[in-house]
Symmetry: C2
Subunit: 441 residues, 2 copies
C-alpha cells in the first residue's frame, strides 16, 4: 500500500500556486511535504510546502476546507510539532495529502474555493521561519552506506576495510537527540580532546582541526512499537512516516581519539542538521526502486531482515548533492559549488531493514524518533560523501574553482545539501535545503 | 555549596513517621529522596520517601504546608514528572528539603501540624505504584569504572586491557532513552543476531544466550546548558540534580558481534532499569569523598577536567550491592543472595568531570537527561560488577548456596541493586531497590 500510485501522483496536475508549476520546482503539487513554520515570532504552525509558498494547515482547517482524517491530522499538530500527526500512521497522512492536493489544484471546485481565500491560506515561505518539524525524541544513526563504510575503513585498515559484521548487521549507534537542529543555523566549531592518529604525544584540548560533513538521509518514525515487541520486516516500512536530509557534522580528530571501544560521542554530538520539510512516503512512492543488489558472494539477509516486497521496492532513487559556499566565494558574489553528488540507491540496507533491525531485540520506537541512514557514498570519487573520504583522510585537498582548497571545513564555510527525485512519467520532486554555516569556536 | 552540611543532616533528628527512625532504614529524615507515585490508577504525583511511607507533595502544598521556593518546586512537578522541578536547580530543591524535613520532624510546630494531618499527607509506599521519576530525555552511558574497563578489556586484549585513551578521556556512548524503565518490571530476554567470538560460522538470529547485568549509578540532570556553551568543570557539579541506581542490562553475544566499529546498540537498548527514588546532592553531601586517587604514572586530568574542589570532594562513598533471586530460590522460600558488592569510590572520573566532558564540545544537556556512570567494579573478585567479569567471560560460573550455578542470567532470575551510605557522625541513607526479573523471549 505504501508504494501505491494514485491521483496525487498524476504528472499533469497543476496548482493555482504558479511557483509550484515551474520546471524543477522542489515542491510541486505532487510533493506536498509537511513542516512547521512561524510567522514573525508567532506560534509554530503546521504547513505544507507548495512552490515558494506554505499552505497554513490550521488556517485551512479553520476555514472548513479539511475534513475527516485530514482534519484529525491537522488537529494532531496543534501543538506546533508533527510528532502526534506522524503517530497517526498512513491513513490520516494520506487523507491530508489527498485533500491538500485538491485544495491546491488549478482545476476543480475545491481548488477554486481555496484560491478565493489564498491570502489567508498561504504565506510566502521566504517570510516564514522554518522550525524543527518534530520534537526529536531519540536519534539513531545507521552505517548503511557500504561505499562509505569501505572508504572510511580503508583509511584505517587498507587490507580489510569492511568490518566482518557489515554484510550481516545493519550497524548503527545511538546519536544525540538534543543537539539536532533545523537547517539554516550556525554550527559552532567544537572544542575537544584530540591526538593525531599514530602519535605518542599526549592529547590536547582545543578547537577541532578536522571538521567534516556527512551526507545522509533522515527518517522520522510514525506510530512506533511497544517495548519488547519487535516490528516484523513486512510491516517495518509503515513505521517510516517521512524523510528529510541530514548532515551528521563530524569532528574527525575528536572522534578518532575517543571512539575505541564504545563508538562516536563528542565527535558527533555538537550538532546535527536536518532539512525542515518532511517528504512523505506517499510522495516518494514513484521513486522506490529495488534494494541495492548484493554483489556475488555476499550473504542473503537473515530471515528477520528479508521481505520480498522490500527487496523489490524498498530502495529509493533519490539524487543527492552537496554544495559548498566559502566566505571568499560569497564576498566575490560566486554561487555555491557542487562538491559531491550521490544517490540513496547506494544504501546497502533499506529503511525497512533498519527499522526491523532496530526493534528486533525489543527496543521501542516512538513518534518523532529520527533515524539517519549513514553517509551515502557511491562507488566513484565524486560520490564520496564526506571530506574524510573525498580528501583521502585529509591528504588530497579538494580544489575549488576560485583557487581555494579544502581539506576540512573552515570557519565561514556553508554546506548545503539538496535532493531530487526524477522518473519518466512522473513529476520530479525535491527535498528543499539542509544547510549550516561554520562559525569559530 | 553543594557539599554544605546543615541542619537537615543532623543525625539526631527523628521523624514522627516511626519507620523512618529504624536502624538501617533507607529513607530516614536525613535522606528525603524525590519520586513519582500513583495510587490505584490515579494521576502521577510527586512524593518524598520517608521510612515506609510517601509524603504526598501536592497534598502538602494544598494543605498550605509548603511555601516560597518549596511550593514552586512542587508546582513544577504538577505534570507528574520531576523534569521541571530538577530544572529549577539547587535553590528550590534545597528549600523543599528543608521544609519537608521540618514537616516530618518529630519535634517542632511544623511537624506537629503535619502529623495532625498525616492521613491525608502520607501513603504507605507498599500501596503505591512507583513510576519513572522523570521523562528520560537523553541517556548517556559513561565507562568511568576503571576496574570494569580493565577486566572487560582483559578478556579481549590480555596484554593491553585499557584502551590508550582511557586515562585521558571520560569515555561514553549515547544510550537509548525510550527503553529506560523503573524498577520492578520484567526484562524480556532479547532476540538478536550473534556469532560466537572467534568462530567463522555465519551468525544466527535467536534468543540472547549471554544475558548480563551491569551495576551503575545513574545521574539525573538539572537545568542543562544551551547548545554551544560548555559547562566549565567548576560549575559542572551543579548540573547533577539527583542520583539513582541503574542496571545497564546487556546482551553480550549480540553486543560483541555488533559493536565494532560504532559501539553497543541492540546489545544494550532492549531495556535499562533505574531505581524510583532520586537521592539529592544535598542528601549525599556527607558522603562525598576525594576523587579516586590516580595511580603513579597516570596523567593528570587536562585543564577542562580539573578542579581542585572536585578532586577533593567530587567522589562518592556509596556502598553498592547486587542480589540474585532465582526461581528455585523463591520456590524454596530462600532469600535473595548477595553476589556482588562494590563502591562508587572506584569511579575513575567524578560526576562533574563527566558533565564537563559531555558538554565540552558544546553538546547541550536538558532537564531529565540520564547519565550512567558505567559499571562500577572494584579491584577484588567480589567487586566485579557484571557477570562478564565475575565469570571471566563465561568460563567460571558463580556457585549459589542452593547448588545452582550461573554463568549468565536465566529466565526467572531477579536481579536487585541496593546502595547505602554510612559515615561516622551521620545518619546512614539508602537508595531503595533497583530490580528486574528476566522473562523468556
Amino acid at each position: 500500500m505504501m508504494y501505491e500510485i494514485d491521483e496525487t501522483h498524476d504528472q499533469n496536475r497543476r496548482s493555482w500556486v504558479a511557483s509550484a508549476n515551474r520546471a524543477g520546482a522542489d515542491f510541486p503539487i505532487q510533493n506536498l511535504p509537511l513542516g512547521v513554520f512561524r510567522l514573525g515570532g508567532g506560534r509554530p504552525r503546521a504547513g505544507i510546502a507548495i512552490g515558494d509558498m506554505i499552505l497554513d494547515l490550521p488556517a485551512a482547517l479553520a476555514a472548513g476546507l479539511l475534513e475527516g482524517d485530514a482534519a484529525l491530522a491537522v488537529l494532531a499538530a496543534a501543538d506546533g510539532r508533527l510528532n502526534a500527526l506522524l503517530a497517526l500512521g498512513p491513513g490520516p497522512r494520506r487523507a491530508l495529502r489527498r485533500q491538500a492536493a485538491a485544495l491546491l489544484d488549478a482545476d476543480g471546485a475545491a481548488g477554486r474555493l481555496a484560491q478565493a481565500q489564498a491570502s489567508s491560506l498561504l504565506h510566502a515561505a521566504a517570510e516564514c521561519e522554518l522550525l524543527l518539524p518534530v520534537e526529536v525524541r531519540n536519534y539513531t544513526d545507521f552505517y548503511a552506506g557500504i561505499h562509505h563504510a569501505r572508504a572510511a575503513g580503508a583509511l584505517m585498515m587498507p587490507d580489510n576495510p569492511l568490518p566482518p559484521n557489515y554484510k550481516w548487521v545493519p550497524i548503527a549507534y545511538h546519536g544525540r537527540a538534543s543537539s539536532v537542529r533545523v537547517s539554516g543555523g550556525e554550527i559552532r566549531r567544537p572544542q575537544g580532546q584530540r591526538r593525531p592518529v599514530g602519535q605518542a604525544a599526549a592529547p590536547a584540548f582545543g578547537p577541532c582541526e578536522r571538521l567534516d560533513l556527512e551526507l545522509e538521509l533522515g527518517m522520522l518514525m510514525g506510530a512506533g512499537n511497544p517495548l519488547g515487541e519487535p516490528v516484523p520486516i513486512g510491516a517495518a516500512h509503515e513505521q517510516v512516516a517521512g524523510y528529510c536530509l541530514l548532515n551528521d557534522w563530524s569532528a574527525r580528530d575528536v572522534q578518532f581519539w575517543e571512539m575505541v571501544p564504545l563508538g562516536p560521542f563528542l565527535g558527533k554530538n555538537f550538532s546535527t542538521t536536518i532539512s525542515p520539510w518532511v517528504v512523505t512516503p506517499e510522495a516518494l512512492a514513484p521513486f522506490r526502486c529495488p534494494a541495492m543488489p548484493r554483489p556475488d558472494g555476499d550473504p542473503a539477509p537473515l530471515a528477520y531482515l528479508h521481505d520480498a516486497a522490500d527487496q523489490g521496492r524498498g530502495g529509493m532513487d533519490i539524487g543527492l548533492a552537496v554544495w559548498l559556499s566559502t566566505e571568499k566565494m560569497r564576498v566575490a558574489g560566486a554561487a555555491a559549488q557542487l562538491i559531491i553528488h550521490s544517490n540513496a540507491r547506494h544504501l546497502y540496507w533499506t529503511p525497512a531493514q533498519m527499522v526491523a533491525h532496530h526493534t528486533s531485540g525489543g527496543c521501542n520506537l516512538v513518534p518523532g524518533d529520527l533515524i539517519g541512514s549513514g553517509t551515502i557514498s557511491g562507488p566513484t570519487r565524486a560520490e564520496l560523501s564526506s571530506l574524510l573520504e573525498l580528501t583521502a583522510g585529509g591528504t588530497d585537498p579538494v580544489a575549488l574553482p576560485n583557487g581555494e582548497r579544502r581539506t576540512w571545513l573552515e570557519d565561514g564555510d556553508e554546506i548545503t545539501f539538496t535532493a531530487r527525485c526524477e522518473r519518466e512519467g512522473f513529476a520530479g520532486i525535491g527535498f528543499g535545503r539542509c544547510s549550516g554555516r561554520i562559525v569559530a569556536s
